[in-house]
Symmetry: C2
Subunit: 194 residues, 2 copies
């Protein structure tokens, strides 16, 4: 009997920001709130109407969207293509693991701040509910692979599994990874257990 | 006995152009020759001092290098990142296979032409000499995979093997693919036979 393949929907993350309450107040003023533009697939997560410009000595990238809700720590997720354009060397990190990462200048219409760190290339990851994790025998932090299909078929290694009770079963990659694979949000990959 | 892994050096191709004699004459004037800036690894291939601007209704990309020598057909090799910026939809193709590919406007300092086609995403490929191909039991046009290593380890599927007597053993990918894999020219991959 052949095993049923475990399919997973791909979501491509464009460059984006997570902002701490303190940094948000500095950039947008006290009392201002993050405003919902579009809910994301993961429960409670959303794209906001607010955006910032990323600035380095070499270049700047405008209109970088802030994702809500506000977080404990400011985190700037870019692609390696962006990093070359900006002249910085971010590290590949899971979300929230920011020790030793480079900083960047963030500009709003009314203020600017220089972050101490927070710029990362997001490590490829799978979001899964506790229920799906149990079904597929996955543990939080486990490393798996995901195969994508088509002319530019890739097998992504070093995919980290993130479990939360209400997470939706999705595979997250950045725009460089999506372009290399020739895939878009909504395409399907297949889990490979190592 | 475990099989010895077959290593291969990666080369990353930035966006570039191959130009036909007729198009070169139109863009740079009759009698002008392509001038060598830097030899490439493959025998007889070189980066030239000449470059062109790629132009579409949406955007333009300046300083796109012409690789020599001149060819039968004009071919424009870009990344999918470039394609989004330019607003065009190139096809993934092996070099030289240009039927049905979109065209683009090419600008030099003195002239411009609109190509009928020729814009491609280069299919990942291996260059190999006849001798190495024999050693590894590879055929021209064969599809293999290549694994790369590190935090962003990938397995590239649909890698096409190209054999010529004097080719040097190399694995060619574009900048999106290199960024997704977190690798640079000179890094090593490993052949996987399907």
């Amino acid at each position: 009997m052949t095993k049923q393949p475990i399919k997973i929907i791909v979501e491509v993350s464009a460059r984006h920001l997570h902002i701490s309450k303190a940094d948000f107040a500095k950039l947008f003023g006290k009392g201002k709130k993050l405003t919902l533009m579009k809910p994301l697939v993961q429960n409670g997560h959303f794209s906001s109407w607010e955006w910032l410009t990323l600035k380095t000595a070499k270049a700047q990238i405008p209109h970088v969207r802030i994702l809500g809700p506000l977080r404990e720590k400011t985190q700037i997720e870019i692609s390696l293509t962006d990093a070359y354009n900006l002249g910085i060397e971010p590290l590949v990190r899971p979300s929230g693991n920011l020790d030793g990462t480079p900083g960047i200048t963030l500009l709003s219409d009314k203020a600017k701040i220089k972050t101490r760190g927070g710029v990362i290339l997001s490590q490829r990851h799978i979001h899964t509910s506790s229920k799906d994790a149990k079904k597929y025998n996955l543990k939080d932090g486990q490393i798996v692979s995901v195969k994508t299909f088509g002319q530019r078929s890739l097998i992504f290694n070093n995919v980290i599994v993130r479990i939360k009770p209400d997470y939706i079963w999705r595979f997250h990659i950045d725009t460089d990874e999506a372009n290399a694979a020739g895939i878009k949000s909504g395409d399907e990959g297949e889990l490979i257990l190592n």
